[in-house]
Structure formats: C-alpha cells, structure tokens
Amino acid sequence: MNSAYTVPLFLRGELVTDNLVPFDVRTGGAQFDAPDMARYVDRLPLPTPMAMTDLNELAFDEILDVLEALGDALDFDRNTHLQEAYEAAMLANPLPGDMLKNSYQILRPLFSRTNVREIADSQVGLDYLNGWVPQQLSDGRELRVRAFGARVLHIPAGNGGLVSAVTILRSVITRCDTIIKAPSNDPLTAVAIARTLADVAPNHPITKHLVVGYWKGGDTAVEEKLYRPEHIEKIVAWGGFASVKHVTRYIQPGLELIALDPKRSATIIGRQAFDDDETMREVARCAAVDIGVANQEGCANARVIYVLSGTDPDGIANANKLGEMIYQELTGLPAFISTPPLHPSRELYEHVEASRMTDDWYRVIGGEHREGAVIVSQFDSAVDYSAMLSGRVANIVPVDSIDKVTDAVTSYTQTIGIYPESLKRALRDKLPLFGAQRLTTLGYACSVPLAAPQDAIEPMRRMCKWIVEEACDPDVVTPLWRLGEPAA
C-alpha cells in the first residue's frame, strides 16, 4: 500500500523527513511514513538541563508576542501546514470533514493575549511564572517561590486539533522544554502548529524547545531510551486505559506521570424539565448538543442521561417523550457540530438492536441507519453496555429520586451536565465524593474552559517545578545548632 502522507519530525526548528518507515492507521486503512525514530531518539532530549537557560530568561511579554503571532498565523484558510494536517486527519480520524475543519478554526482565538494571560494567571499565577514570589513564614524566614519550566514529554489524545494546540499553549506559558508524541489518529496537527511557530519565530527559544514526532506507542526501542529521568522529568499522558497504563512502567523517582486518563461524562436532568413543552424542548436541545458535539468522540460528551421523571407510567411516558425530542434535536444539529458517524461501532449497534427487541425494558428511538440513537430505559437502570456508547448513541434513565442519580457518577466520570441550576447546586457537594470532576450547565459539557482545572487536577501547575529560595536570619529564625542553648 502506498503511503498517503508523511509525518515529519519537527526537531527544535529543524524539519526531518529522512529515513522514513511506514505506519498503519486503522480507519480507512491509510498508511503514513515517518522518520524511523530509533535513529533520532538520541537527538530528541535536551543535551543538558543548562540548555533551559534561554527559555527561563524569556520575558512574558515576549511569550505573549510569539503566541499572538502564532495564533494569527493559524488561519486555516491561509495556513498550508494546517490544511495538510486536515487532509491527513481526514484519512486517520473518524470525524467528518466539517467537524475537523471546525476544530482548526477555533485555534486562533486560543492564542490571543487576553486568553493566554487569563490561563497563565489562573492556572499558574503570573507572579510565580515571571519571578520569585516572596512570603514571610510564621517562624520568621523569608520564602521566595518561583514556577520553573520542566522537561516534559506529552502523549496527547488525537480527537481534533484542540488537544495538540492546548499542549503547545500550556508548554510555552510554563516555559517547558517540550517533546510531543503525535497521536496516530491526528498525526500532523501538532507538527503543523510547530512548523507555523518556526515560520513566525525562527530560531526563537520557544521554537528551539519544541520537538514533535511520531513513533508507535509502546515502541521500546524509542521509549526505553527516551523515558528516563536524565532526559525528561514529567510525562503528560492523555487517553485510553492502555496508553496511560503502558507509560506507568517508566515512572520512577525523578520521572513523574501527569495522567489525564480515560474519562466518561454524564447528564442529570431535574423534574423541572417536564414543566411544559417549551421547557422540555429547550432541555432536549441542550442535551442533544452535549451528546452530539464531535459525534460523541470526546470524554466530555453526554452518554447516560439520568432524568428525574419518576418511574411510574407518567414518568416513563415523559422520559420517552424527552427521548423523542432529544433524538429530533440530535439529528437536526448542523454538520459542523454533529453528523451521522462515519464509522459507527458495529458492536454497539448489535447491542442497540438487541435492546430494540427487548421492548419490555428498553425503547430505542432511531438508529435504524446507525445515524445515532436514543435508548430510553423503561426502568431505573442504564444499559449494560453503557461504556460502549459512542457515535451519538445516548441512554436515558428515568429515576424516582435524587439519591439514585449518584449512579451517574463513578471514578471515571469527568463532566456532569445538569439542568436546572438549582439541582446543580444541590448536588455539587455530593457528586464529587463519587468521582465527578466538573459540573456544568446543560448544553455546555463540550465547551470546556481552559482557564480551569482539568480532570480534578491542575496540569499546568504540575508541569512546573516549584522552586523555593529561603533566607533565614539566625537572629530571627532559631537555627538548629542553637536549639537547646539557654535563652539569652
């Protein structure tokens, strides 16, 4: 099979396209070439930690300047690197064209001065990023704390261009030396952003502290050489259970894992949704967006939807009616948000069809053409295959009481979209005990803020090395050698 495209190695400003070897991608069977990383792995890490100096001395204003210029250059209509990445993703990614294009069109505003400053200040603190922050402790010593960049390896998820962009944005803000292992289902976006960076800031320290390349996840010839404390200090791993789990074998003193691990999201809809048809329609529209965005490929998408309709005949009828409305809204979403999936899961639909035949327990709305479906449980439990829900297939579960909605939340739960606001406030101190990490207004599940913690951790603060400088005046802070001496 001929390779459809090449994934070059972006090596600190230099573009390497030699020594190509082929790699397979599942979807569509396209193949791509990338430099044989076993030949380059020795050149990926910084030769010495001293080489961080230039990055460390960079003024924040200059960071803002470079990122703004980068953002301006990430204009999909003019940027050939992005267009190339889009063409490659079309072959490698399950998302349809309109949606992928949209994921590139939202990149530019990410890098605006206002946005970068807000993220930097709220997620780390500008004072800590740009200087030593003084503090007097109660024992009298003076403390000064600064957030330093670290040498970080990133394994981003491949659903859309956003994750690669966020990775680069966070890395530049925190003055990290960055190596990105490109995902096989979006192999070119990170490289495209890196190449654009090299265009707008050639030879700049920011450009020289960025490496992007592809090797097959689990390739020990590369990973055993690179994933060592003498080369990198932290690994940021997104994604599935296997990919996060296999990285853990390299974790040791001096090499830390920041895991943005597998997540699912859920939805809770209160009784008020059934007050009148208009409210119900609005709730259905919001829920449909939470299900449908980017065809439910993401971790923030709604999958199981608990509704406080009750489970008596009227309650079930209401749940069914809401299911019909959600299905209508879901299939009516514009193509840049949601479409029938290109690669619906056969295994999932085998279960959906079995549920359709089991009409004592489930009512299946739509799905006959694998365009997406809503399965309404006719009792208070989710379908047993809830972990498979994807390609805009959601499960509505009617429940009688607020106690039962905690079923929606497990240790793998990320976002909970909730309607109405009063229910969210009633649940916000309880749901996190079970694992929820982000509670948001129904309809905003997939509109994820960057100036906020993620997955119940603060990845940017964790990417930094928090260095302490202390000054102790022996007349103020009693030194150890004077302990036990008689007081003067």
Partner: protein, 477 residues
C-alpha cells in the same frame, strides 16, 4: 409445487436428519448440492413459519421488517440474530434475583412455553437453571459476555440428545465408509480436561457427553477437576471486569449468598495441583492404551499435553481413539508446534477439529483437506463484515460467518458470528464431501482489529473488556 410426499421428506430432513441420512456421515455429506439446497430452502420456510408463531422475538422482528415468508436463502439475512440477542436482559434482574422476569425474558426467545415456571425463592443463576431443567423441556447453556452479562441460549433436552448422536456419527465414522455397529454405539472412556460440571458454557455439555458416550457407566467419565464451576461466581467475575472498565468497582456489591462460599472457592483453587496429579495418575494407571474420547479447546489440549509430557506421560491412548479440538486459539499464544505436542502426548492416529459456535446444533467437522464442512441442515452465509449484507454465493468470498440452522427447534436458528471466514462456493472438495466448506483459516474480528493499533481518544476504551473476556474464557473453555 410441494407434493405431500416431498413435504414429508422435508419434514424428516429438518426434524430428524439422523434418520433421514440413515445415521451415516457419508450420506450426510454426499447429497448432491442442488438437491440439498432445495431441501434447505423448503425447510427454512417451514421453520420460519413455525418460529414466527412460537417465538415472540422472531415474530416482532419479522413484523417490524415486514417479512412474512422466506423464499430465497438471502431472505433470512435481515432476521439473523447477533450474539447480543441472547443477553439483552438487564443484568440488574439477576442482581435483584428477579428470576420471574428473567424467565419472562427467556420465554420470548424460545418456542417452549415457560409461563408456568415457578421461580419462587430462586437464589441464583444455577438454581434458576435447575428449575428450568426440572420444569420445562429446556436445557439452557450460558456463556460469558463482555458487558458484565451472560448469554443464555435456550437449548432443549431433545436438542442435546440429538447433538450427542450427531457427535458420535462425526467422531467415530469415516467419510466414504458406511457405519459399523461398533461405530454407531461406541462405549468409551471419556477424558474431560476441565471442571466436571457446571452450567457455564461448554461445561454444560459435560453431562451430555457423560450420558452419550460412556454407555451409561459414569465411572468411565474422567474430569481433570472433580468440582463444578459455579455460574453465579462466574457472573460476579464478569461483572467485576465490566465494573473495573467503567471505574465502578467501588460500587460492586457481592451477593451475600455467594460471599459466604468464598472459602469453598479458595479451597477448590488450592486443590488444583493435587487434582492435576490425580488426573495423570488415572490416565497412566487405568487408561493407558484404551480407546477414549477426549475433547477440549486447543489451549486446554496443549496445557494438558505439556503437563503430561513433563511427567513423562506420552503416547497414552489407543490409536483409534476419538479426539476433538477446536474453538480457535482464543487470543492465547501457543508455540508453532502445539499440535505436535498434543499428538506426542495422546499417541492417536487422528485428531479431529471442529468449528462452530454455541448457538448452533453441531460443529462443522474438519476434513482431510483441512476444510470445515458445513452440516447439511445448516445454511451458511458469508456477509459483508460491516454492513451484514450477504456476499454472493459463488466464487471465493471472505467475510463474516453467519448461519441459519434449520434443525434448531427450541430457539431461532439464524445467527451472525464474530468470525471472519472464507467460503469457496464453487469448490468440489477433493476430500469427496459434496457439502459447502469453510476454509481452514478462521479468525475472530475482535482479534484481527486488536493488533497494530495505538489509536488514542480521551474516552475510555475497551482494553479491559478484552481482559475480562480472556479471564472468563480461561475458566469456561
């Protein structure tokens, strides 16, 4: 036009193929293709009519698809069930011990009437299956699933008796020779390299084999482990794995009745090395040189053979013993010479291989050319692996295996498998059998897709599900 005489002939073909083919393997696989296909077409139409009346799920599906009669083979394709049909009940019914509702669910999948089954006080899956055994014609079999549920296939006692006779015909007869009395009524020692009994999956056939092959002398049945495997425990294991994959392990509640038996299960596990020793002692002391019937999946056969060879036990059984293996390699890596190891241990002339899945009435036996010849009462299909549209019934086709088994009476006989197969429709197999055959290389689609892929998304993936399947298979196969 169907004459009275030919109706009778079709009815005998579909209801009693053993008599129809004179108990002869040779006759089963010598019937001219055209003649067989005409019989199959008529039988399919009749069986569909019957099942549309007697099986609610078939009726509902047919009504929804507006299918009221079947004429051509491909007419049945939209009505084929996926494996999910036999596990579409909510698993919470078992947790809550609502075996009345489980019975109501199963009633819609079988032609037998289950409305009078008494499940009052029923405390677990095994007990429920015992009640069904006692009160109905059913003899259900179960198998593990990937979503924390078990498949429950409503087989019946008639089918299991018939199945054992068919096994005997295929195991002891040789194609091209009419059967002898000895081949028709063999009484042999049975080697069962597994748990002695259980309701889970293939363990269920232990009792069928015990009845069918030993001539009634149960002392001739030799199991590797003397214990029964508890289905409720397996259901828990299945749920555990599914819960782990969903991050819900902290929610898993173990049924107190089962938890109380924890020590029993641990003791059973601790006894296994002892059991293994006793098993080989029995083989060397009592069964050396005897004609036996032994059945097990490749990996089990290999494990037993290696353990035997390590103990210096080899060439143990009579050369004319009947040995049956198959079941795919189930994701376990065996060395290239695994069949040599099995041969060396057993010391028999031939090891037969079969291909099939639990929804069917019988295996399809491997021939001298290495092809699996489809039993005459089974209509095979090769489907597009994604869309399930039937591929042409001519030339060489590779795709997803599906079958419509006209012999099945207790449940619907149309199923789609998870296996990739190849059929050369125009081939006249050099082995001499006239029947259609699956080519030797069969692979599960799930295994095929599992390799060469490091696709990452931030939503949870199914690696853990696969782990669960392997975990379960280690027990049941």
């Amino acid at each position: 036009m169907t004459t009275q005489q030919s109706t009778t002939r079709v009815e005998q073909f579909m209801d009693d193929p053993i008599a129809f083919f004179g108990e002869s393997l040779t006759q089963m696989h010598s019937i001219p293709r055209d003649e067989l296909e005409e019989l199959q077409r008529q039988a399919m139409a009749i069986r569909f009519d019957q099942h549309r009346q007697s099986i609610e799920m078939v009726r509902k599906l047919a009504d929804r698809l507006r299918i009221s009669e079947l004429n051509d083979f491909n007419d049945v394709v939209p009505l084929l069930f996926s494996h999910t049909a036999f596990k579409s009940y909510p698993a919470v019914l078992i947790d809550n011990k609502r075996f009345d509702l489980m019975t109501a669910w199963l009633d819609k999948l079988t032609s037998h009437d289950l409305s009078a089954v008494d499940t009052d006080g029923c405390d677990g899956i095994d007990e429920w299956i015992d009640r069904l055994d006692a009160q109905t014609p059913l003899e259900v079999i179960t198998s593990s699933g990937t979503t924390g549920t078990l498949s429950i296939i409503p087989k019946d006692k008639h089918g299991s008796r018939e199945g054992m006779v068919l096994w005997k015909i295929c195991l002891f007869q040789t194609f091209g020779k009419e059967p002898t009395d000895d081949e028709l009524n063999p009484a042999v020692d049975v080697i069962w390299p597994n748990y002695a009994s259980g309701k889970l999956g293939h363990l269920r056939i232990a009792n069928m084999i015990k009845r069918g092959f030993t001539g009634g002398d149960e002392r001739k049945f030799h199991a590797l482990y003397p214990d029964a495997i508890d289905t409720d425990l397996m259901f828990l294991a299945s749920k555990m794995r599914a819960a782990a994959s969903r991050g819900e392990l902290d929610r898993l509640v173990i049924d107190p009745a089962l938890a109380a038996r924890k020590d029993e299960f641990i003791a059973m596990q601790a006894r296994q090395p002892e059991d293994l020793d006793r098993f080989f002692t029995t083989i060397t002391d009592n069964l050396r040189g005897k004609r036996v019937f032994m059945i097990g999946a490749y990996n089990i056969m290999y494990d037993v053979a290696s353990a035997g060879l390590q103990r210096g036990v080899k060439n143990v059984f009579a050369k004319d013993s009947a040995i049956l293996t198959g079941g795919g390699l189930k994701g376990v890596a065996l060395p290239d010479d695994y069949m040599d190891v099995i041969h060396e241990f057993l010391g028999v002339d031939r090891i037969q291989e079969g291909y099939g899945f639990s929804e069917q009435s019988a295996f399809h036996w491997g021939c001298s050319e290495g092809r699996y010849h489809v039993q005459p009462w089974v209509i095979p299909f090769v489907l597009d692996p994604e869309t399930s549209e039937p591929l042409a019934r001519s030339g060489r086709q590779t795709g997803r295996a599906a079958v419509y088994d006209v012999l099945l009476k207790a449940h619907w006989g149309g199923v789609i498998s998870g296996d990739e197969v190849t059929v050369d429709w125009d081939l006249q197999c050099p082995c001499g059998q006239t029947s259609v055959a699956f080519e030797r290389d069969i692979i599960r689609y799930s295994e095929k897709q599992g390799v060469e892929d490091d696709r990452i998304t931030c939503a949870a993936t199914h690696e853990v599900h696969n782990e669960a399947v392997n975990f379960m298979k280690a027990f049941e196969s």
